[in-house]
């Protein structure tokens, strides 16, 4: 769904459309359909809290806030893959192809979210300065291919959980909710593939395209473990799935959300400023 395209087409068909709406709306030209009055009212608050900061101190309570948060995570992924592909350590052929595909998607997500935030009348947060070694914790991230893939997997699985955690906040706007869902499932496709790449490297059969229990897939690291804690649920909405399938399958069959605070704690070490 290309919202930008949609709006620009609308303008072509009816060039006067923005002239006929009230001046307050005119001030947020190109915003049509995205926010509605509900979001408009929330914009000043979001601006105050988020402008010029990479992310808010508290969990976003409105659509713009969620989009700024999502943008920050997409900045992280986009720059990570950009540097990964340029690192010179990715084998040519399928691996470089896959990471290039993912890099392009993350850049597209950045561009899309930036455009939507602008359409909502807010200023997109600026890109933070990243440290992908996380203060030296992953010192070889761009020199050791396996470390690189481990960090990639953690980012993707975290991204899936982060989007999931915000779905409720986006419910008041169907267009934004659907767009976020459409990004969310792409992150899950990425996660699936990175896991398959790691499986192929290690031949470790416990690394699967899905998350088993809270197992990070052979990555023994306290920082990484935070991205998997809570994934081990086998009961959903009070229904015990182990009555139907194994405990492993029960945990794999549902991915779990992460709260804003949990995600920030995970990505904080990668953000210098």
């Amino acid at each position: 769904m290309n919202l930008y395209q949609l709006f620009s087409n609308m303008e072509k068909i009816d060039p006067d459309i923005y002239g006929r709406i009230d001046s307050r709306r005119k001030a947020i030209r190109n915003f049509a359909g995205i926010g509605g009055r509900l979001t408009l009212a929330a914009v000043p608050l979001a601006l105050g809290g988020l402008l010029n900061t990479a992310y808010s101190q508290s969990a976003p309570a409105d659509i713009t806030g969620v989009l700024q948060y999502a943008l920050t995570l997409e900045y992280l992924e986009a720059e990570f893959y950009t540097r990964a592909v340029a690192s010179g350590i990715i084998p040519a052929g399928a691996p470089t192809g896959a990471l290039t595909t993912i890099r392009d998607h993350e850049n597209q997500h950045v561009a899309f979210l930036t455009a939507v935030i602008r359409q909502l009348g807010a200023t997109p947060v600026s890109k933070p300065t990243f440290d992908f070694t996380a203060g030296g914790h992953f010192a070889t991230v761009f020199t050791n291919y396996d470390v690189l893939l481990a960090v990639a997997q953690t980012f993707e699985d975290t991204g899936v959980r982060a989007y999931k955690g915000q779905a409720g906040v986006l419910m008041s706007n169907n267009t934004v909710l659907t767009a976020a869902l459409n990004i969310h499932s792409v992150e899950a496709r990425h996660a699936s593939h990175i896991r398959q790449m790691r499986r192929a490297r290690t031949n470790d059969a416990t690394i699967k395209p899905w998350i088993t229990g809270k197992n990070p897939g052979g990555i023994d690291d306290d920082a990484v473990q935070k991205s998997y804690n809570g994934e081990e649920l086998t009961t959903q909405a009070g229904i015990d799935l182990t009555g139907f399938v194994s405990a492993n399958a029960a945990s794999e069959s549902f991915d779990e959300p992460l709260t804003y605070d949990q995600v920030i704690a995970i990505v904080q070490p990668f953000i210098k400023q």
């Binding site: 769904m1 419910m171 909710l177 659907t178 869902l181 499932s185 593939h193 398959q196 909405a237 069959s253």
Partner: protein, 239 residues
């Protein structure tokens, strides 16, 4: 059907168009090996969904309305997927590898978990067990099985993505979100089995790096081709 007093902005005029900007139906159908005969049935099914009345056509199963309708819609799709993978695991295609068997068995179990979850969650409101029709699928051939699996998984992802905005209850939305990412993991896995690196290629992901979202009517048209039970989604929420 969301509370209209909360959704102040009128529906985006292009939203339906956006929904329809999915992988073309033709492409899906050819991937699934469905001929023109089913297309005729599909057109009439579409007419029902867009019709004015809320009368269930004779012999059809009404998915219901509101969130219950959406949960039944998901339950129907999970029944279809679970039945498919159950058959795949029961009668493996020729030349299947141990790694492929392990992956397809996992996927079967996930779909069974989803199916049983919805059945239990819906309780007395659940639609009955559906009768499937897989006569068009050659389960002995890897290509046929994986092509169908790919179509089902991509369809499932687009169905959940499209259903999100139709859900009223925050908790149900989260549950749908918990499931859709697992379906997306499946989709990527199956695609990689067919052709490594096609997990999120531009036949399914658009220029914004986004997956598809399909409205129930569009999804049901395709799902119906694999069912002898007749589903009717005319009472499902439209927005």
């Amino acid at each position: 059907m969301k509370n209209d007093s909360i959704r102040l902005q009128p529906e985006l005029p292009g939203e339906e168009a956006a929904y329809n900007k999915t992988v073309s139906r033709k492409k899906f159908l050819s991937a699934l090996g469905i001929g023109s005969l089913s297309l005729a049935a599909i057109v009439s099914c579409n007419k029902d969904d867009d019709g004015m009345g809320s009368t269930v056509p004779p012999g059809s199963i009404d998915l219901g309305k509101g969130d219950t309708g959406i949960l039944n819609y998901a339950y129907a799709l999970e029944q279809l997927e679970a039945a498919f993978y159950t058959k795949v695991v029961q009668s493996p295609y020729s030349g299947i590898t141990a790694a492929e068997t392990a992956l397809l068995t996992d996927i079967r179990d996930h779909e069974v978990a989803h199916r049983e979850f919805f059945k239990k969650a819906l309780g007395a409101a659940a639609i009955p067990a559906l009768n499937v029709n897989f006569s068009g699928i050659d389960f002995s051939k890897r290509d046929a099985v994986l092509a169908t699996a790919k179509a089902f998984e991509d369809l499932g992802v687009s169905a959940y993505n499209g259903a999100g905005a139709l859900i009223d209850d925050k908790n149900y939305l989260l549950l749908a979100g918990k499931i859709v990412s697992v379906e997306a993991r499946h989709a990527a896995c199956i695609r990689d089995l067919i052709s490594n690196g096609s997990f999120a290629d531009n036949t399914i992901i658009d220029a914004n790096g986004m997956d598809q979202a399909k409205a129930p009517a569009a999804v049901l048209m395709i799902a119906q081709s694999f069912l002898t039970s007749k589903l009717w989604g005319g009472n499902l929420p439209k927005s």
